[in-house]
């Protein structure tokens, strides 16, 4: 997308293509799961029958970072692992997003004082969505994902501007809670 991203002035053709791209992208956010700790189980539960990420087109966890859009960090980043996360991130094609899942990935969480931990993912990578919880409930991750989707659809790709992170609140706001529930409610049977 170099042509589009480097275009200086938006014009009619570019913005139309851009809208199309954004629409497509927001419906196919593919994961790169650098699955580390307990939170990755809740991520796995998202792929399972009840939460089923596939319904919003995010069910694919790609084997290679080169094919994915969203880097999920579900757990602590240790000092030994940090360079690898950076490498994985650098291998992902733009545009890319990072979700820090769980208090470990946000700040170090329960292991904050430890000698082997970094104090959160944002000390090594630019984080777009912070989802708190220990462990994160799948609903909260879903909320973060839906927010990110809205962001992807709403942000122009013409010139990748600085992005403000999304903070998922510890208690989901009622209107969003209703929306997430509605999403999940259809499949309550399983």
């Amino acid at each position: 997308m170099g042509l589009i991203e480097n275009a200086e002035r938006p014009n009619f053709i570019l913005t139309t293509i851009d809208t199309l791209l954004r629409w497509g992208r927001s419906h196919s956010l593919w994961w790169c799961n650098a699955g580390s700790a307990c939170c990755s189980l809740e991520f796995a539960a998202m792929g399972g029958a009840r939460y089923d990420m596939d319904r919003i087109g995010s069910g694919l966890v790609r084997a290679s970072p080169r094919q994915s859009d969203v880097l999920l960090i579900p757990g602590p980043i240790t000092k030994k692992m940090a360079p690898i996360f950076v490498r994985v991130y650098n291998q992902m094609p733009d545009p890319k997003w990072v979700i820090a899942m769980g208090s470990c990935a946000i700040s170090g969480g329960a292991f904050r004082e430890s000698y082997s931990m970094t104090r959160g993912a944002d000390t090594v990578l630019p984080v777009d969505v912070y989802v708190p919880g220990c462990p994160v409930r799948p609903e909260a991750l879903f909320y973060g994902l839906l927010k990110l989707r809205a962001r992807v659809r709403g942000t122009s790709n013409i010139g990748l501007a600085h992005r403000e992170p999304i903070y998922v609140p510890p208690d989901l706001p009622p209107e969003w809670e209703a929306e997430v529930r509605e999403f999940l409610g259809e499949h309550e049977a399983c």
């Binding site: 580390s36 700790a37 307990c38 399972g48 029958a49 009840r50 692992m81 690898i84 004082e113």
Partner: protein
Amino acid sequence: MIEDHPRVGRLQKDAVTESIVLNMGPQHPSMHGVFHMQLELSGETILAARPVIGYLHRGIEKLAEHRTYAQCMVLVDRLDYISQYCNEWAYCRAIERLARIEVPERAEWLRTMYAELVRVTSHLMWFGSVGLDLGGWTPVIYAFIPRERIFDFFEATTGSRLMPNYLRFGGVKEDVDPAEMEALHAYLAKDLIDALDEFDGLVTGNEIFLSRQRGLAPMTVDQAHAWGVTGPMLRACGSTRDLRIDTPYGVYDRLDWESCTDTRGDALARYSVRMREMRESAKMALQCIERMPAGEVRTKVARVLRPPEGEVYVRHESTRGELGFHIVSDGSPKPYRFRVRSPAFMNVSSLPHLCAGAKISEFFAIFGGIDNVMAEIDR
């Protein structure tokens, strides 16, 4: 003549390929977490393997020395996050033995029930990932259905799906709502068994699956003892060692169940032991619900516990094998030394022996059979 060709001819005469080193992980889709494997390959055959671990080392043993005994429970939960209740129970048993705390009858039954339920969920998770490792998506999707149902019970009774922090020194946090137990009983008695039958139909009888697992990575009992392998992997080689029988704790000696063993020692045996264990565990949980006596669930214990000076080592049959807690107390409210003997750590250390000589495509089938949890290995 082709032999006369300068390069082809030489190749034909001594057709030896140079070995290459392949790095797998630590970011790898089927690595079950951040595990790194260096494989030395000759063609497709694994000559030598060297696991590299520690990518998830959070220093739990050091952190625990800076927390009170009760606060350590949070760390214990996060050791082996697939079998939380087993971890908590093992830790509680260690402290209770050290501080000589009595546990009420009903609490023992509750603990046994939770431990067996979590064994089911843990093996379900393993079942799903075995499918993934061999390239099938279906098992993992299916396995999550019963798992979620049991998690619902955990959430309703302890407040959390994954990290319950439910056991206390001298009992459990609170009693369980009888209505929840009844609903669970109905589920375990019928739907779970149906689901397990379905899994057996899906995978166990599958010819492709069988031919990929049969005879793979065989291990004998002597080898298992020498490598420190425990749990279902050990029982799959014909050993009958099961700490639930050998060093009875909880109410296992009062339940009607049997320890599952197999004599073949290969990957298929490990699979079949775990599949049968799920049924046994469900049976035990059912008996617990039926026969649980009424009564207290918690004895009074000082809020800030100061166990007497001394040390204790407690062995516990976790879902992966022998989980040991070695606690050294100096009489203060914080442990002096907090050591976890992790079953998966020892089981994975046998991996180089198991996969030497195997093909690279078999590697994940072997690795899946070990059922590791990186958080517990790295601590």
